[in-house]
Subunit: 415 residues, 2 copies
Amino acid sequence: MDAEIISVGNELVLGQITNTNVAYLAAKLTQLDLTATYQTTVDDDRIRLERVINHALTRSQLVFVCGGLGPTTDDITMPTVAATMGVSLQTDQRHWKWIQEKFNQRQISMEPENIRQAKYLVGGEPLANPVGLALGCWYETGGKVIVVLPGPPAEFKAMVDKSLLPKLQDYYHTEKQIISRTLNFLGRPESQLMDEIATVTKNEKAVVITSYVQPTAIQVRLTVRDLPFEEANQRIDRVQAAILQVEEPYFFGVGDNLTLAEVVVNLLRARHLKLTAAESLTGGLFQSTVCSVPGASNVFDGGFVTYAASAKEKLLDIPAMLISKHGVVSSETAAAMGEGCREKFHADIGIGFTGVAGPDSLEGQPAGTVWIGLAIKGRPTVTRQLHLAAYIGRQAIRTLSVQYGLQMIYRELKN
Amino acid sequence: MDAEIISVGNELVLGQITNTNVAYLAAKLTQLDLTATYQTTVDDDRIRLERVINHALTRSQLVFVCGGLGPTTDDITMPTVAATMGVSLQTDQRHWKWIQEKFNQRQISMEPENIRQAKYLVGGEPLANPVGLALGCWYETGGKVIVVLPGPPAEFKAMVDKSLLPKLQDYYHTEKQIISRTLNFLGRPESQLMDEIATVTKNEKAVVITSYVQPTAIQVRLTVRDLPFEEANQRIDRVQAAILQVEEPYFFGVGDNLTLAEVVVNLLRARHLKLTAAESLTGGLFQSTVCSVPGASNVFDGGFVTYAASAKEKLLDIPAMLISKHGVVSSETAAAMGEGCREKFHADIGIGFTGVAGPDSLEGQPAGTVWIGLAIKGRPTVTRQLHLAAYIGRQAIRTLSVQYGLQMIYRELKN
């Protein structure tokens, strides 16, 4: 069923703030098998808002109007929705009394305008605001539903979770839930990955496959609608197995918010292994990424940022000869960095990053040339060269280098 | 003039991602005195997208269609815009050759579908993509303009800045230019900053003052419309001077995209000073932030990540007694870290970070407790304690710690 989310506010139209509410509500609707097919933003203008609401009612069965429920006369949403529906507003006396009490308790003098925040549409139903003053409203008209919600994200989310979702579940009897699973990949261009996936899954039509490029992963989402829970999961299992038969080397786990750093930290933790690093072009970003995972202290004691060649020599005891012979950006230097930091920390795993973040080239090598050296206790040291595209820029080159370093560790440990 | 931004993508409709592009573009349009009065989001569906474009053309003179320019058949934007306009697509041969070269250089085999990313509307004009493969498009029709832009934020922003804005300025002859200047502050709550600013600037009505909270700064924008260039700048100068008389300690420079790291690196570079660091809770993020500035190698040779107490002792020669007596999260440990790394690197400036990133507390101190120690050659070591709110979360605590560390360096060097 098509839903439409209308966001109201000058600050949105002027680009002063990013609208986080709409993704929050859309994700909740998706879980209920309702889809926010249309999302519209408009400024605090009665005439334009009325037009936008009327247009929404021509194409959507469920319309949300979000924002503009403050106490000032700029806040036009509730009266505009009422006018568009051809009804007037009424005051929720119990809520109005509660607002007055709140102000008394906080010893703040109240403005008479605050009564606006206790009003809702005649014939509608007030929606409670667990963390703010303004009421929301649920209003049914000719088989369609209009819902009014507040703008501040904390109030918005609280009203959605506590007041709106139970009401929606009740009203739409949404039992046919959507089942979905997200697979995370790194190291394969999106178009190639999706082409190969399309080939191996072409017989399973019930599973819809979509991809989304994140800065540090390609996410592939498998979705099944309108099937019983168990059958849906079996079909997703089958598709996942078919995909991994081909794409296993690039796969690092299941989950919407999964990061490779989290996967690696948890794997090291399970195996009681300690990790350290020596970073040149990444300048501390690898270690910072590892430390972004709660519990990183179990697998990471510390490491080095060796940006200058002199630091590589001094901190890691890499012979100056080795660097001058092979170059800073070389397999040999990367290997020596990985081995050097591992020895200094008596760690199980040492990883070294050296390369050209750009914008300028270095030693005749273009920006995007990166060498990673991985030294694991009891195994031969391995190195890998990356040829990242210079045009993605300095930050993306550093971020991707870190991710490919994590992937090297992950693959080595899985073998 | 009314503009409309249409965002296309299933991932937006399903609430999988937050749309940051629309605020970015809307803010840029505001600066040109164009207003993104309407903003619409729709899924990757040809029929619905066509309807949305046609509806936009009934109410807006300038329409942007953003996202869906990838190489796969899900990416329907360019062909749908063409069909809506009743024209076909053509290949930009030079760009198509360039794409092929890029793939060759990176030694990746290319899919024939990539040619889709070199196509644009017949009768239109391609817009260059400085950081990605897909072309954008500028198309004029009956006094209105349609612009097609890519979805990935890095590509979107680069195309907006480099290809779109010059074209818009040229096309709309926006001579009654808005003159604006952005001041960057750190370390003052937004409401307090803006209240104080309102008090000292209340006599200058021609300068509109707006604020915008970034993760690493509060930006205050001073804007003047419809005045000659010179007078506008004089008024902005006066307002800036009035603001800095009160807020100077929190100010770090002028510019939309200015970062404190850039300010500090440039300052160190001008004074021929070298910086190093020893990081605990920030885990390499400070050094990584410094290295994000091109030219950082002039002021930074490397440093330490000393996450565990043992690493602080071993790498920085901090006596175990000092840590056990005062605690890891203490002024004394932070000072010893700053001094220790400075000595090891024979640098001019050493900075140490220790604290509780959370989610758990440490040594009885709550998440958000941070000590920073700053050791500058020839000066007494200074330390500073931060009490960041635990609810902002682990990443924000680490990010803000880095920024406050940069601010300490900036202030010390300015004195």
